[in-house]
């Protein structure tokens, strides 16, 4: 199973992969158990004549208990494995004081990534200001916007630091999918969403869109790069806005 799944480089990933493994072992056991019984029946109880049926075999009641066992195990999975894991992922957000906070604005067919810059404040964006050079419509004169960094289809994060991403969409529903982080989140326009994750190793990976968003859906691919702390700072520096260009 581990060879089939994409590489896993997040702190929440191993628990999800473990759950998948437990589930598939459970499913496999049931399927093989019933499958064995099924094939045995097909062989043993094949019709040997066309005459009236003689009944000598007594029915057995084991399956009734088996059903209860199956349901009991499902309940166990929900209450002790899947439930707590989901709550941890959805509720236990890291403090935004220590985490890297990023805004990600999806559109047909690109991922716009906005970093707050040294002041830690995200500048407001407005549709009226959208130009090819300013895809977000960032109002550079507004409070906090002057030092904001914008990157298109390329998201950098430092390794071993929790990251909180605020997701929004300009047009249709997209889904933010980081296969290597086991992160997937639908982005409903007008509502948005928030996810968090933490990478455990550096490297260059991919952002995928997982919800049909139009004819360019399949190529709505972004680069997801996990840097060392030093590389991350250097990259931020290289993306700092140059006032005189605008």
């Amino acid at each position: 199973m581990a060879t089939l799944l994409p590489p896993d480089i997040s702190t929440q990933g191993p628990a999800i992969d473990h759950l998948l493994l437990v589930l598939h072992l459970f499913m496999g056991t049931i399927f093989l158990g019933w499958g064995g019984y099924f094939l045995y029946c097909l062989f043993r109880f094949r019709a040997k004549s066309q005459g009236p049926v003689e009944r000598s075999v007594k029915p057995f009641s084991l399956p009734k208990y088996l059903e209860l066992v199956i349901f009991g195990f499902e309940l166990f999975l929900l209450v002790f494995l899947a439930g707590p894991l989901w709550a941890k992922i959805r509720q236990d957000f890291p403090s935004e004081k220590t985490a890297i906070v990023i805004h990600l604005i999806a559109e047909q067919y690109a991922w716009n990534v906005q970093y707050p810059g040294p002041d830690g404040l995200f500048g407001p964006i407005s549709p009226a200001k959208i130009t090819p050079l300013n895809p977000l419509g960032l109002d550079r004169d507004a409070l906090g916007a002057g030092d904001d960094l914008v990157s298109v289809n390329e998201m950098h994060i430092p390794v071993h630091r929790p990251v909180v991403v605020y997701l929004s969409s300009k047009d249709v529903i997209h889904s933010f999918f980081l296969p290597v982080m086991r992160v997937k989140q639908d982005i409903i326009p007008g509502i948005g969403a928030r996810v968090w994750f933490e990478a455990t190793q550096t490297g260059s990976y991919e952002i995928a869109c997982a919800q049909l968003c139009g004819n360019g859906h399949f190529r709505m691919r972004g680069r997801f790069i996990v840097d060392t702390e030093a590389d991350f700072s250097a990259w931020l520096k290289s993306k700092e806005p140059k006032r005189n260009v605008e």
Partner: protein, 553 residues
Amino acid sequence: MWNKRWQLCFSTDSKIIGIQYGITSMSFLLLGFMLMLLMRWQLAFPGHPLPLLGKLFSDSLMPGGIMIPDFYNMLGAMHGTIMIFLGVVPMGVGAFGNYLVPLMVGSPVAAFPRLNRFGFWLYFLGGLVWLFSFLLPGGAASAGWTSYPPLSILASPGQTWWLVGLLCIAISSQIGAINLLTTALQSALPGMSFSRWPITVWAQSVAAFLLLLAFPPLEIAALLQLMDRLSGSSFFLPSGLIISGTPLTVAGGGNPLLWQHLFWFLAHPEVYVLILPAIGIVAEILVSGTRKPLYGYPTIVRSLLFLGALSFLVWAHHMFLTDMGVKLSGFFQATTMIVSIPSVIVLTSFLLTLWGASIRFTVPMLFALAFLPMFGLGGLTGIPLGLAASDIPLHDTYYVIGHFHYIVAPGTLFALMGGLYYWYPRITGRMMNEAWGKIHFWLSFTSINFVFFPMLLLGLAGVSRRLYDQTIYAHGRAVQPLNLVISMAAWTLAVAQLPFLFNLLTSWKWGKPAPSKNPWGSPTLDWAEMLPPRIVRGAYEEENLNEVTTPRN
């Protein structure tokens, strides 16, 4: 002659209407299947021109024989909706329901014959609307079978006509459901009490109930989406949308999530509408094929009722990743685990019916037997999707496609195929060819597993559904060879249907005459030799079976 045919065409006889549904839905199944065969070329050989056939399509769809992404999305959306709304449901409920339910409760006519006829023609009209929508500028609907707004509201005119067709089909389904329920409850023979209803009558009635209760929210949703598209309302459009850099001039203030709730409130019960007729058919075939009463008839009936009721409380498990809170998702995860119990009970009862049986491996029986492990696999793969945490990596991947196709294709469709072979002599007085039937079964069974099992693997590898070309992504490239396997298997599956079609058409005239009026030895009234039939015993009672299972020829 002409006059007689005309009368047959607009008959109010529920058996004739059932056959009409059967022929129409099978044609649509074939069409939906062909749309998918076309998509499979693009998926196996992304960006390569389709040899020979590619030239038949216009340059706006396949320039130089290479499918464009818009055409791919169109095929995907239409494959899904044609298969479900025009294919499997009309065949399970329209064809088998109309043909069997009145006969099984011992009624020569349906309760509302003319309304029933209207229902069929409304369905036919809905199908025509969808067919002609392919010819519109911009083609047919392309926003996925789920038609999520805002994408669907911004889509080409095909989407408008998709909604119109959907409304026709939805209303037709409800008309059919009213007729079926009333027939089962009101037109039954005296003595046909609930405890004597065959499983098919139970399953069809529960399905009819689901259709009656689940379709109205979708009809409303479709009307609202039509208004969003045509009259400038914003039920599903939030404020401040910017499409390719330009603000969209609509009122705004709506919510795209509302559509998803209304849609899945229908679409989850709809899954059970797909599977229930199949469960009924498998039960009937198993009884005569094992020559044994069903194991646990009352438990099966209770499970079906419970399944139907609970299917209304699970819909949001399709929406775990829409930023759903922990409490709400907890509720839907719990109901999803609970809804698995009745299905497990039904399947277990079927498996236990095999114990101590005398199994005759006829063609219908092969299909009914294959249904059991295939439906089992489909059900089991639903568990990781029904738990929110394991749904994260699997949501909207091929794992989902593999899961529900195991339920619907080698599950439901196999059962319907079995039903066709089984009731063919009841309809025509002739048997379908056994040898061709076995070839059809074994080829289909083998190839269909090579279609859907690799999809589960693709899903685990993280490949999303609805991707025109998965090799854009590293994790897609890693498993691309599987796509070739799936496509080859799908094309083999298509070839495997040729003996079936040949058999179906030629046996009508040249098939071997049925050895008796009840060639399989079935205990239900649809095979009764005397009309009107007489009820002497309960459903599947032992003596009843022994009586009819004695060879008659």
